[in-house]
């Protein structure tokens, strides 16, 4: 094998320069972009937030509006709905971003600090719970694996300018996973490049084959919903409710199984100082505040049952550490950990759920407003005695009406309920919603939403309505409800009554058959159903409670009558 051409040394040098140019060009453009995009959008890694940090900070750096950036673990990620907070803020032109990452700990988050400083946010919300002060052990294989993974992913998308003083904190065993230069970055990128190319090919070929399963799960920086994704990652990767949907006994069983071992672990046994995480916090706080950026330390609450398992003083080191870092200049604190939130606000042991997130948004926005407008006078919120145990009732407003039963037949508009409660447990997302409707009695009716075909059968978990009655005659009373089902099916409610003398009665079920009524309102109980009846005497205070038994059900009106033969369709007593 021999070639004909006789080339000179300049030809060889030119060829090598050309070769190197092409290699550098490809290795610094096409493949890193492909890998970074694939990490964000698809299931190349289990969670897109792992790869989102640096592209996100680049986006924020380019934005004109002020930014508030939350960083930390999944606890903060679950708590902070940046979009909700941004919309609730009274201050204009401030965007709240949630860049917290699943499994993150202070040590794994130090890499992004130079990029955060470049992004120049108004405020950094730094996740600082009791679970952030454990000792990082070199022989903890699973933690080392996580650190390796996080550092690799971050190294792929960061730039040489992101190398900062944090390098002094990096353990020797982790240095391998940090790209200190472009060559090392190229090597780390290679570990995902093949899968990234496959993903890209799938995205190109998806239209041409029914067999190809590709879903672009999350937006890219060039997509219109990218900003919303950075603000509220949970809107893009919702997790199914977990503990919220469990029965009280299941919740207890969950904690009895998990907590005895958990309370012995580092996450509930924080060290006072000198851990790698303490050092990481020192580094982050010092670097960020030196750059003129304020910090809000945030400790989110845990499930109320967690606290039952903690010993007296077990988390003193957390309190001390939190207070220690509060002493830094331009650092503020929001310690919600010692507040008691309602069980339905948690998805699991330490992650806030849908209800909790909504509450956090309402609570956090005014605090942020205050911090942004007048941080000098901002008072740290630490260990406030807030108890949200009765939150379901407190969050649901009734109109305190008491209906006098001074006639034989008394009509009550459904919307005139005296008191109410949100759903709990499996029904934690359900509530009664008033709908304006001219064809209904009064001005409208109550609709049990959200409609996701939930059934709570004989458990009284669904949202509750209370109707308080004042009795003027000793008699036996019967309760009729004008209602209808939805979705061409039967939907039902549960009813009980109680008095100031007696506790709740047994549960009655009123079922409305859509196909019988053809969508018209019906009075229940109809065929073959027991009617709720109660004996009462003058002066007794009666409460009729109605629970959402199957979502989608609608109620318009109630009748309380002492007439045993009452026929609601005759409109007697109107």
């Amino acid at each position: 094998m021999e070639n004909k051409e006789n080339v000179g040394i300049s030809h060889i040098i030119g060829s090598i320069i050309s070769l190197l140019t092409v290699i550098i060009l490809i290795t610094t453009t096409i493949f890193p972009a492909m890998v970074t995009n694939s990490i964000i959008t698809s299931d190349l890694v289990s969670n897109p937030t792992y790869g989102v940090t640096f592209p996100a900070l680049e986006t924020i750096e380019d934005m004109e509006d002020d930014a508030v950036i939350g960083i930390g673990s999944s606890i903060l990620r679950a708590a902070l709905d940046g979009k909700c907070v941004t919309e609730t803020l009274e201050t204009d032109n401030v965007n709240v971003f949630n860049l917290a990452v699943s499994g993150a700990n202070p040590y794994t988050e130090i890499l992004q600090i130079p990029a955060i400083i470049r992004a120049n946010p108004k405020l950094v919300v730094l996740d600082m719970g009791p679970n952030n002060f454990w000792n990082v052990r070199e022989n903890d294989e699973s933690m080392n694996e996580y650190i390796r993974f996080r550092f690799t992913i971050n190294s792929i998308s960061m730039e040489n300018s992101d190398i900062g003083n944090w390098t002094n904190l990096i353990r020797d065993i982790d240095k391998e996973w940090i790209a200190f230069n472009d060559l090392e970055r190229t090597k780390l990128t290679q570990s995902y490049s093949q899968e990234a190319v496959e993903d890209w090919l799938k995205s190109m070929a998806i239209e041409y084959s029914e067999y190809i399963d590709y879903e672009k799960k999350y937006p890219l920086p060039s997509d219109p919903d990218w900003i919303e994704f950075l603000m509220s990652p949970y809107n893009f990767m919702p997790k199914n409710p977990y503990l919220e949907t469990k029965s009280p006994s299941e919740v207890n069983a969950y904690f009895e199984k998990n907590m005895p071992s958990k309370v012995r672990q580092g996450v509930y046994n924080p060290k006072l100082n000198d851990t790698l995480h303490h050092q990481s916090y020192e580094y982050m706080i010092k670097e960020i505040t030196d750059a003129g950026i304020s910090i809000l330390l945030l400790a989110a609450p845990h499930h109320p049952k967690v606290y039952d398992y903690l010993s007296e003083g077990q988390l003193d080191n957390f309190n001390s550490s939190f207070n220690h870092f509060l002493n830094y200049s331009d650092v503020y604190g929001l310690n919600l950990f010692w507040e008691t939130w309602h069980e339905s606000m948690f998805r699991d042991r330490n992650h806030i759920g849908v209800n909790g997130r909504e509450y956090f948004c309402k609570r956090f926005a005014p605090i942020l407003d205050e911090m942004i407008s007048d941080k000098e006078n901002f008072t740290n919120i630490l260990n406030e005695n807030i108890d949200l145990t009765n939150m379901l009732e407190e969050e649901c407003d009734g109109n305190n009406l008491i209906t006098n039963l001074n006639k034989q037949i008394v009509y009550i508009e459904a919307e005139n309920f005296s008191d109410c409660s949100l759903g709990e447990g499996i029904a934690f997302q359900d509530k009664w919603v008033f709908k304006n409707d001219l064809e209904s009695s009064g001005s409208g009716y109550l609709h049990a939403l959200t409609e996701d075909v939930s059934q709570y059968k004989n458990e009284i978990l669904g949202a509750r309505l209370d109707y308080n009655l004042s009795i003027n005659h000793n008699d036996t009373y019967y309760v009729w409800v004008k209602m209808k089902g939805n979705s061409y099916g039967n939907d039902s409610i549960g009813l009980k009554w109680k008095s100031n003398l007696n506790s709740y009665s047994e549960l009655y079920k009123y079922d409305s058959f859509y196909w019988n009524s053809k969508g018209q309102w019906q009075w229940e109980p109809g065929f073959n159903q027991d009617i709720l009846e109660f004996n009462s005497s003058i002066g007794e205070e009666i409460t009729i409670s109605i629970w959402l038994r199957e979502d989608g059900v609608m109620i318009d009106e109630l009748v309380i009558t002492s007439d045993e033969e009452f026929d609601p369709y005759k409109k007697e007593g109107r």
Partner: protein, 484 residues
């Protein structure tokens, strides 16, 4: 250390290149000493203490060659030839075939009594033993046949036997060819340098992008042995393995030839687009050329060849292919592979003389060529199926399915079962078929590339290298022919 380790490119090759071509420039003997020592270093890193076997083979054949050339006495010449053959075949027999023989004996004797069962030795197969023993044997045989003179210097011969580019997996270079190259001090010009680098880049890309990716698919199907009745899967796996073995082995040859070029030594080509072959005979003129010509010269012809009647020809052909199969490995599937190839060659030799066949090909022109190409390739790929699968429990159903016996086609099952990297592999396979076809038509692709201007060369080689880096699977697959 081998041709896909970074140490080879970061340290070994550049150092040997600088020492041989620049430091020892013009000093032939010094150059050969450097090459010899570096070859031993290379082999030591590849195979450790097995280097002793290489030294034994080298010394025995050097001595045998000298002794044979110095005498005309037939008996002495024969004795020394036998010494060479016994040593080389003995090494092969012990290290490569002994356990296989014991296992085969056990299979037979088990029928009589379990107490007759012999324990296997468990010797590790020395890297490259099939290649360097064949190479040194050919040297002695050629001297015995008076086709060439012995080397003048032991260093020259030892360098021939151990020359690192072709030591581990060929090509099997003939001694006279090598001697021509090292007659004068080793030197290269810019063109040779560029050709050498081009061949290395070409080989690395072929190995990492094509061979290693398709290997993942072939391995999954033929090792796991699931869904063996799915025709699509068996055809796909066979196609993948056919591409893998070609790209793997020819990549090694390209890198070997390229590396040798950098040392100023020309090694002959080992492949000529074998999947463009239109007959089994044509295939063997294009596939592993150095082995097939070795088998022809030192086995087929001595066994009678084609000029001593039909029976002898059939016997010679079949024996050559059976032994050729056995050369690849101590396993029954390799013997079966050789047998099927022997059968194909015999059928082709007689079939092409049949009148209907002659009439068909005389009247069909290009269509006839296409038909013969399709038939040849189906047969060749079928033999790859036999070559790849050592497990009888997987081989037999796979062979049936290949021909559609009791098979079914389920695209969804196939898609679901294949490894995660599917589309990329499919594109690689498609690109290979396309490029192989073009290469078969036009030829000289590597030389064409090496002759391009710096910009075009840089773009093409740069793309190949970056693709090799980014598209290789996480786990590198060893060169297949290391096992042989």
């Amino acid at each position: 250390m081998d041709f896909v380790t970074t140490e080879y490119y970061q340290f070994f090759l550049p150092i040997v290149f600088l020492l041989t071509i620049f430091i020892a420039s013009g000093k032939r003997k010094n150059q050969l000493i450097i090459l010899l020592l570096s070859s031993y270093v290379f082999f030591w890193f590849a195979s450790g203490w097995h280097i002793i076997l290489l030294l034994i083979s080298t010394c025995v054949d050097w001595t045998a060659g000298s002794k044979i050339s110095k005498t005309n006495e037939k008996i002495i010449r024969k004795r020394w030839l036998l010494a060479s053959l016994i040593t080389n075949l003995g090494l092969l027999g012990i290290f490569k075939y002994l356990d296989f023989i014991i296992e085969s004996l056990n299979l037979v004797t088990l029928k009589f009594s379990e107490s007759l069962e012999l324990g296997t030795i468990g010797l590790i197969l020395p890297v490259g033993i099939s290649f360097y023993t064949f190479q040194t044997m050919s040297y002695t045989i050629d001297i015995y046949r008076r086709k060439q003179d012995p080397y003048d210097s032991f260093i020259d011969f030892a360098c021939y036997a151990a020359f690192f580019p072709q030591l581990v997996a060929g090509p099997i270079v003939r001694s006279d060819h090598f001697r021509e190259d090292i007659k004068k001090p080793l030197s290269i010009n810019s063109s040779k340098f560029k050709l050498g680098v081009t061949l290395i880049i070409y080989g690395v890309a072929k190995k990492m992008v094509i061979a290693d990716n398709v290997a993942v698919h072939a391995n999954l199907i033929f090792v796991e042995g699931e869904h063996l009745a799915n025709i699509g899967l068996i055809w796909w796996a066979t196609l993948c393995f056919g591409i893998q073995i070609y790209c793997d082995f020819s990549a090694y040859s390209d890198i070997a030839i390229g590396s040798a070029h950098l040392m100023g030594v020309k090694i002959p080509e080992n492949f000529k687009t074998p999947y463009a072959a239109t007959s089994p005979q044509d295939f063997w003129r294009r596939w592993h050329i150095s082995l097939s010509t070795w088998l022809r010269d030192y086995l087929y012809i001595p066994l009678g060849g084609s000029r001593n009647g039909t029976k002898k020809m059939i016997f010679a052909l079949m024996m050559t292919m059976l032994l050729g199969g056995l050369w690849h490995g101590a396993s029954w599937n390799f013997i079966l592979w050789g047998f099927v190839h022997g059968l194909l060659l015999i059928i082709h030799r007689f079939g092409k003389e049949l009148s209907p066949v002659k009439i068909f090909f005389n009247n069909t022109g290009r269509l006839g060529i296409l038909v013969s190409w399709v038939i040849t390739q189906i047969c060749i790929f079928f033999t790859w199926l036999i070559f790849r699968v050592e497990e009888i429990a997987i081989l037999v159903p796979s062979m049936k399915t290949f021909f559609g016996i009791n098979g079914y086609f389920d695209m969804k099952e196939m898609y679901d079962y294949l490894p995660e990297i599917k589309l990329l592999t499919a594109i690689i396979v498609f690109s290979f078929v396309l490029l192989h076809g073009i290469s078969g038509k036009l030829g000289r692709g590597k030389i064409w590339l090496s002759e391009r201007n710096p910009i075009i060369w840089g773009i093409i080689c740069g793309v190949m290298l970056t693709l090799a880096f980014y598209l290789r699977p996480v786990e590198t697959v060893d060169f297949i022919y290391f096992r042989f």
